[in-house]
Each structure stands twice: as structure tokens, then as C-alpha cells.
Amino acid sequence: MNDRTRVRLTVNGQPESVEVEPRALLADVLRDNLGLTGTHLACEHGVCGACTVLIDGEAARSCLVFAVQAEGSSVTTVEGLTPPDGLSPVQEAMRDCHGLQCGFCTPGIVVSMTAYLNDHPNPSDDDLREAMSGNLCRCTGYQGILAAARQAADRINAI
């Protein structure tokens, strides 16, 4: 238990260094060691997507990644996707389209949607439905989330 390891990684652009147990999950390190509680845990078994973060730009479930596996990588959480003023196009679209109610799934949705739209500039509605199918939401019935994905895709394209 005491064989703690030092992990160095960049989180939201900040270099960080933390001492962790080998079994510590990236999600727990973000939340407990670094105080970035925007990353939520809703299943801890890789299904719900609430814990989604970007690791070197790729969406990943931080409940399935050990912190030691993130050594040397660059991690972006929902906090890091927020511009200093206002909201990102995805966040704005989620607000405009009522893509959230209780907000618990929301950080994972924002991160997943952002990652997908970064890589897929011209998605069809079916593509968006498929892309967001890995994030569970119990409140919205997904209507607002899919509308937000459409709006964000269109806005990003219009820029």
C-alpha cells in the first residue's frame, strides 16, 4: 500500500506532480489530489461517460485509467475547456438547447461532444446520435443534448 509513485502530468495546461498509489484512478487524482471536481463519477465501471476527460486530445474514461498510466500526458478536464470569459461553443449550445437538468452527466457530455466535434467537423444527425451514445443522462431524454450537438457543430463550422 505504501509503494506510492510520483506521477507527472499536465492538467489543463498546468504541470502537476502527485504522489499516488499504483491503484489510484486518474479520476480520483483529478478530483481528490488536484481538487478538479468537475469530473464526475457515476458508475466507476466505464459505461456512463460522466468521467470523460481528454488525454492528449483524445476522449477517455478517467475511471478506467490508472493515474500512473497518464504519466507524461496532457489531460484536459471540463474546467480546462472553459474559456476565461463566457462559455465554449459546446457549453453555450448545451445552455441554449437545455441540454442539462441536474448537471451531473454534463461535464462528461461537454468533454465528449467537444472531442468529437474537434475530430469530425461535418457530422450528420445520425453521426451525432452515435457519437453521444456513450454518455448516459437520466434527466434530459437526450433531446436537448442532441440539439446542442447540432447547434455546436453548425456554429463551429460557421466560424
Partner: protein
């Protein structure tokens, strides 16, 4: 006299006040909270559905790394007092925080481990040795009443029957009616077990401060005030010594309305340790131990005339309440006739214990009346050879014939059942669909349409539920702070209440801040649930805003030497009607009210603050809707897929149409999930089979259809805004609409759908069985 203000925000889809913090990762859920010297708790839970506990050995766990304490029942025994919830009453006692001598469901908590981290607490749980003596479990609720294995035998109870209401005819000529009509339809409708499943599990951070002798709780709850009252009684404290807050709660749907034994255990742990103790439930626990729902059946009988008039309906109802029920809310049989002109009713009810997780409230807890009636109507339509839309049309109430008193004693007014059905059928193009369906059948495609029409009793009066409170203060800056009695867990309450308040005071939406879910600053409220916020909390917000506005007008009138009734307020400026240059800003009025109160007339006390409690004029406030669903079933894979989903609803005046539609969307997807994907299963020994999100399947964007909504508006007169509740309806209507659509898609094969779930496995079996029968 015309109103001094005009509505600007009610009725519009303003941006939600909640969204900025939630979208940027700055929500404050219980899991995000911490406290100095905080330690973490984990439960060891029963692996068996029924067993005696011969021994529980905690020695190894106690000396495991990081362990602070391991608690058993004997540690908590006699450390607590009364354990009942204000809404449920003194009779329904929350079960002991930990198992005493035996366990009665898989998940029954046996020990509580407190350690430096959650991982260490869980490690230590694995070191506890339990010597069980297994006993035969009772799992099937349909036969539980006659089962000689008694769940609560250890309490000396003679049987598994918790409540039994013998058959009660609500109309004298029930038997004659059944004997004289052309058609008697009899069918048993079974609704499966499915659950609330909020994305945030349960959790609590409990801090007892010795010396201060105060308890502070941050908890994932739908009701901070009832949680406070509960724990004041539990620990024998004055209410003022207990503070409960819940800034953000990640969904509840009924699950978080009450107080659970796990929360009791954590509170006792902090009391005994004098350190903050945090417990965050994991998903396995949430699925197996946080309350289960639905799981009811009813034998429905209907008496129908030759031309399709339903003359009577009865039900013999059985509900599973599990081993320990956090809230034994089951079908309301007096609502069985629903929004139909059915003149006669009779019912019996039986609630039975089983060795499974107990019944919890879930979005429309009484809703089996809708499932039973609406599925039975489709069975009837098939049996008598009448179109199910036509059979409903013939019997549904319409606005013009109200008020109407049902045989269950419900007084209906201000609802539009037939009107919503017609709107929904129109949106679909029902007649064209029937042609399309016939053509599709020719091609071997299985297409079906399902309908569900219901009436929803919102803002009910039971126990603590009849009232809400609001304190509204205009600060000396002119900004408004509203302290509400609500505990939001996704309902957009900060937004909708600010819309009402801004309109009634005559300020901007951005000028209003809403504070809720803190027992130290807000008026008492029973909790957010039962579709009560728009009507009751909205009424309190409205009336408190009017009371503060009246103070503004009185002081402004004095300052401007005008009559209060000649003043109007718009966008934060009080002006004399017709003379706009004679005006004051609300800030100027507020400055006078706070800093020069001595200059005000003797009967004006100064300050700009009002506290009001509100109670609707009548109970309940009825709302209603019609759902229409189209499914296609793949004849090879038997996978059902929803092609269209239409809701026509009437929730009176809408405060925020986007919020209304969001509530409908969410409810509908929960309801359709419960038919097509979600099904909580136990094996015959009471072992749960669906304990992860890989087996308990929530709908995703992949399965969820586009949902189309039509609105009708019959304004309610129970409250000043004309609002009706609508938080539960989606989940009430969707179950039968989807099940009926599947039934309609299979009807030409001779299949009679009467039970759910309806996944490919069940559809395959139904088709097989009917083919066998026909052969």
C-alpha cells in the same frame, strides 16, 4: 385596478441560472465536498437474500491499514431515538442502520467501516468474515402472500402481507353491470421492476462537532428540511442544532425524497467519532440497495357495452414492497378510471413483503393505475374488435363536460383529456398511419401504434406536502434575493422561480438570485417531488414577490407624494402612470427603506422583505396528457425500435416552455426505458442479476427517438400563476404507450401483450407462444 407590473419573463425560455456553474464543472455535489479531518465510510452488505447471522468477525478489518473504526449493530444500539419521516408518519420506522441478527435482502448493510480513504474502507470490508445460516428466500411477489417463508418472521409477523384491502365496490350496481353488458374483458397486467437511477448516487458528508454539539449534513437529498427534522428527532436535538444543505443534487426522481438507513449509520458514525464522515455510494449499491420501483400487477376487469361504452372497471392489485420499504407508495386504485367517463369502480389491494430491495418512490409512484388501465383498454379493443383510439374517444372526458366526479371520488376540472388525444392523433396522422401499417404488414413488417391517456394529480396535499414558503428581500442595492423552501435536483427551480419573481416585482431576471436547500436560511418545505414546485413553491414565490412589491409601492408613493395605486414598476423603475418623468429606481426606494426608515410613515416598518407561505385553493391540481408511440419490430431479431413519439400535454400556463419540454423528454425516456431496456431482475434465490450498467440498461442517444410535443393550455385556478405540475407525467404515460405500441405491432400474429418488459427476448417468447397456440 390594473396590475402595476407586466409579465416579461414568465412564458419565455430564458437561460437557466444553474447552467453556468454546471457546464463549467463548478457544480457543488456532495461528492465534491470535504471537511477538515474527514474520514470515509463503506458498508459491508449481505450477499444472501435471507439468512441468520451466526457471527460477524471484524478483528482483521479493525486492524487493517487506515481503518478508524468498524461498526456493527451493537455499536449503534440505543444510540438513536425516533426514526420516522414527516411525510410518511410515525408508523413507518426506518429500519435499523445495520442488520441485527439476520439479513433480509442482498445488500442489507451488516457493518460500516470508517477509514482514511474510501479505498481503505473497502479493503477492510473485504476482511470481515460473516458466518451466514441461509434460509429460503421469498422472491416472487405474486405468490408471497401465501408463502410460508415469512420475510419478517424474526419480528414475529405471521405472513408476508403488509397491507390488505379486500375488494371494495365503489358503486352499488357493480355486479349487475358486469352481468348485463355485452363484453366483459378480463386481463392481468404486469409491470416490471425498474428504478430511479439518478446519475448521482446517494451520498452524505456528516459532521458532528463535539463541544458545539451540532450536526452538519451535506446530503444528496430532495428535501433538506425533512432530513433536518428527521435527524433532530433521531439524535434528540433541537432542529436548530442540525443544518442540512444540498447545493447541487444529481437527480433523484423520488429516490432521494426520504431518509435511508445508510444515512442514519453515517450520522451515528460521525457522532461517535467526532469527525466528519463521508459516504458516497457506488453504482452497485445504488442499483441493489437504494430503493426499487414499479413491480406491481393487477387483474383488471372491464364491462363494455355493444357500442363501446365502458360501464365499469375493477382491479385486484398486488404490489411488491420488498423487505424494507423507504416509501411504500403504490398504485392509487381510486384513480383507476383515469380521465374517462367510467361510472363504476371496484378494487382490492395487497402489498407484500419479499426478500428483495424495498419499494421506493419513483416519478409518479401511483402510476400503475395508468399502466393497468391503458394496457387493459388495448386488450379490450382487440377483444371486442374496436380500434383502440375509437374506444378511448368514446369514453374520454372533454373540457366542456367538466366538472366531473369520478367513482373514485376525484373531482376533475380544468383538464383536456379528449382534446390532447385528438391533438396527438392529429400530429401523428392516425388514419394514414393505419393505412401505412396495413401496407407494411403486407410486406412482412411489424409496425404498431400505442396510445396512453392519463390524468396526473399534481401538488397533492398528503401530510407535509400542502404548502411551501418563500422569503424575498430586495437588498439596499435594489437586487433581489429569494430564499425558497425547495430542494432542486434538476428541476430548474432557480430559473423558473426567478422568472415569476422578476415579473411580479418588476425587475430584470438577472437581478434575482435564488437561494434554496439550506435549512439555516430558507423557509420550511417538505421537499421537491410530487410535481409541486410550479404550483406551490411558485405560489409562494408569487405571493412573496407581490408582498415586497406592495412595500416598494408604499414607500415610493410616500417619497413621490403619489397614491400607491397610481404607480407602476417596470425594469426596476417605479413611475407614476402617465407621468414617466416622476419616477424612482427600486435602488432609490430600497436605500430609503433601509437607511432612512425613520422618515417613512408610521405604519411602514422599513426594509423590503416579506415571508409568505402558500397553499393552493384546492387539491390536487390536475394536469393531463396523451402519448402516442409508433414502434417497428424487426421480425428476425425481434428488436423493437421507436419510430415516432408524440406527447400532447396540458400543464396550464407554462413558466418556461423549454423547462416544461425538458421534463417531458426526461420522463418519457425513463418510461420507455422501463419497457424496452431496463429491467431489474433477481434469480429465484433473491440474487440480483442486473448490478451494473452493462446489465441494467439505461436508454442512450442510440435508442432514444425524437420526441414531438404539442401543448394545450387550460389554466388552473388553484394558484395565482395558473400553473399545473408536470414533472412526473412523462414517466407515467410512456410505459403503457410503448407497451401498447408493441402489442399493436404483434396483434396480427395473435399475440396479446399484457406484461412488461418487452425486449427482444420477451417479444420472441410471445411470438413463439402464440404460434404454438395457433398450430
Amino acid at each position: 385596478m390594473s396590475s402595476p407590473v407586466a409579465a416579461r419573463f414568465v412564458g419565455s425560455a430564458v437561460h437557466r441560472k444553474e447552467d453556468r456553474r454546471l457546464l463549467t464543472g463548478h457544480g457543488q455535489y456532495v461528492a465534491d465536498a470535504s471537511a477538515p479531518r474527514m474520514v470515509h465510510a463503506a458498508f459491508l452488505r449481505s450477499e444472501l437474500a435471507k439468512a441468520r447471522l451466526n457471527s460477524v468477525n471484524i478483528e482483521a478489518a479493525k486492524s487493517a491499514p487506515g481503518v478508524i473504526a468498524v461498526f456493527l449493530w451493537s455499536d449503534f444500539h440505543e444510540k438513536f431515538g425516533e426514526a420516522w419521516h414527516g411525510m410518511l408518519g410515525e408508523q413507518l420506522v426506518v429500519p435499523p442502520p445495520l442488520a441485527i441478527m439476520d439479513v433480509r435482502y442482498v445488500g442489507d448493510p451488516i457493518a460500516l467501516v470508517v477509514a482514511e480513504t474510501r479505498a481503505l474502507a473497502e479493503d477492510a470490508c473485504a476482511l470481515i468474515e460473516v458466518d451466514y445460516e441461509p434460509e429460503q428466500a421469498t422472491v416472487d411477489y405474486a405468490s408471497a402472500a401465501a408463502d410460508s417463508n415469512v420475510v419478517h418472521a424474526a419480528w414475529g409477523l405471521p405472513s408476508n402481507v403488509m397491507v390488505e384491502v379486500p375488494f371494495t365496490p365503489m358503486s352499488a350496481d357493480l355486479d349487475e353491470t358486469f352481468n348485463s353488458v355485452e363484453h366483459v374483458v378480463e386481463t392481468t397486467i404486469v409491470q416490471n421492476r425498474y428504478l430511479c437511477v439518478p446519475m448521482e448516487t446517494r451520498g452524505v458528508l456528516a459532521s458532528w462537532t463535539p463541544g458545539l454539539e451540532e450536526l452538519d449534513l451535506i446530503v444528496a437529498t430532495q428535501s433538506v428540511h425533512e432530513t433536518r427534522n428527521f435527524f433532530a428527532r433521531y439524535l434528540g436535538l433541537d432542529e436548530g442544532a442540525v443544518r442540512v444543505t444540498a447545493r447541487d443534487v444529481g437527480g433523484g426522481f423520488g429516490q432521494k425524497m426520504f431518509v435511508y438507513r445508510e444515512e442514519c449509520a453515517v450520522v451515528l458514525a460521525t457522532k461517535l467519532l467526532g469527525r466528519p464522515v463521508k459516504w458516497i455510494e457506488d453504482r452497485l449499491e445504488n442499483l441493489t440497495s437504494a430503493g426499487h420501483s414499479r413491480n406491481e400487477l393487477g387483474k383488471v376487469r372491464m364491462a363494455i357495452t355493444a357500442d363501446g361504452v365502458i360501464e365499469a372497471i375493477t382491479v385486484d392489485h398486488v404490489a411488491d414492497v420488498g423487505a424494507y420499504t423507504p416509501c411504500p407508495a403504490v398504485m392509487d386504485p381510486t384513480l383507476l378510471p383515469g380521465p374517462y367517463r367510467i361510472p363504476r369502480l371496484g378494487f382490492s389491494t395487497q402489498m407484500v413483503w419479499t426478500n428483495t430491495m424495498g419499494k421506493a418512490a419513483y416519478r409518479g409512484p401511483w402510476m400503475f393505475e395508468t399502466t393497468a388501465r391503458e394496457m387493459a383498454i388495448d386488450v379490450a379493443a382487440r377483444q371486442i374488435g374496436m380500434d383502440p383510439a375509437e374506444l378511448r374517444r368514446k369514453n374520454l372526458l372533454s373540457l366542456a363536460e367538466l366538472p366531473f366526479t369520478s367513482p373514485g371520488g376525484k373531482l376533475f376540472q380544468e383538464i383536456t383529456p379528449l382534446e390532447t388525444l385528438e391533438q396527438a392523433l392529429g400530429m401523428l396522422g392516425y388514419d394514414e398511419f393505419r393505412k401505412e401499417q396495413a401496407a407494411a404488414r403486407e410486406q412482412g413488417r411489424w409496425l404498431g401504434v400505442g396510445i396512453c391517456v392519463y390524468v396526473e394529480p399534481t401538488s397533492m396535499e398528503q401530510a407535509t406536502l400542502a404548502t411551501e414558503g418563500a422569503t424575498i428581500r430586495i437588498e439596499s442595492s435594489g437586487k433581489v434575493v429569494a430564499f425558497l423552501s425547495t430542494t432542486s435536483h434538476g428541476q430548474s427551480i432557480e430559473t423558473t422561480m426567478a422568472q415569476i419573481i422578476a415579473d411580479q416585482i418588476g425587475v430584470g431576471y438577472d437581478d434575482v438570485t435564488v437561494v434554496q436547500a439550506d435549512t439555516q436560511s430558507t423557509p420550511y418545505g417538505p421537499g421537491t417531488g410530487g410535481s409541486r414546485t410550479a404550483v406551490i413553491a411558485g405560489g409562494a414565490a408569487h405571493d412573496a414577490a407581490v408582498a415586497v412589491r406592495d412595500k416598494v409601492l408604499a414607500i415610493a408613493a410616500h417619497m413621490m407624494e403619489a397614491a400607491p395605486e397610481d404607480l407602476q414598476i417596470a425594469e426596476g423603475v417605479v413611475a407614476v402612470r402617465g407621468t414617466p418623468d416622476r419616477s424612482l429606481t427600486i435602488k432609490e426606494v430600497a436605500t430609503q427603506a433601509y437607511t432612512n426608515a425613520h422618515t417613512l410613515p408610521v405604519d411602514v416598518a422599513g426594509g423590503l422583505e416579506a415571508t409568505i407561505r402558500f397553499k393552493p385553493k384546492r387539491f390536487p391540481t390536475w394536469s393531463n396528457a396523451a402519448h402516442v408511440c409508433v414502434v417497428e419490430i424487426d421480425p428476425e431479431t425481434f428488436i423493437p425500435r421507436i419510430l415516432r413519439y408524440i406527447v400532447s400535454e396540458d400543464c396550464g400556463k407554462m413558466i418556461n416552455p423549454q423547462v416544461v419540454e425538458g421534463q417531458i423528454f426526461g420522463g418519457v425516456v425513463q418510461g420507455l426505458g422501463g419497457v424496452l431496456y431496463e429491467d431489474f431482475r433477481y434469480d429465484t434465490d433473491g440474487n440480483p442479476q442486473t448490478t451494473t450498467f452493462l446489465d441494467y440498461l439505461l436508454p442512450t442517444t442510440g435508442e432514444t427517438p425524437l420526441i414531438e410535443i404539442g401543448h394545450l393550455e387550460s389554466v388552473s385556478t388553484t394558484n395565482p400563476g395558473g400553473f399545473k405540475g408536470m414533472g412526473e407525467g412523462g414517466a407515467i404515460g410512456a410505459h403503457a404507450a410503448v407497451a401498447n405500441a408493441v402489442g399493436d405491432a404483434l396483434a396480427h400474429l395473435g399475440v396479446n401483450v399484457t406484461s412488461t418488459p418487452l425486449g427482444p427476448e420477451q417479444i420472441f417468447e410471445l411470438v413463439q407462444a402464440s404460434q404454438k397456440e395457433r398450430a
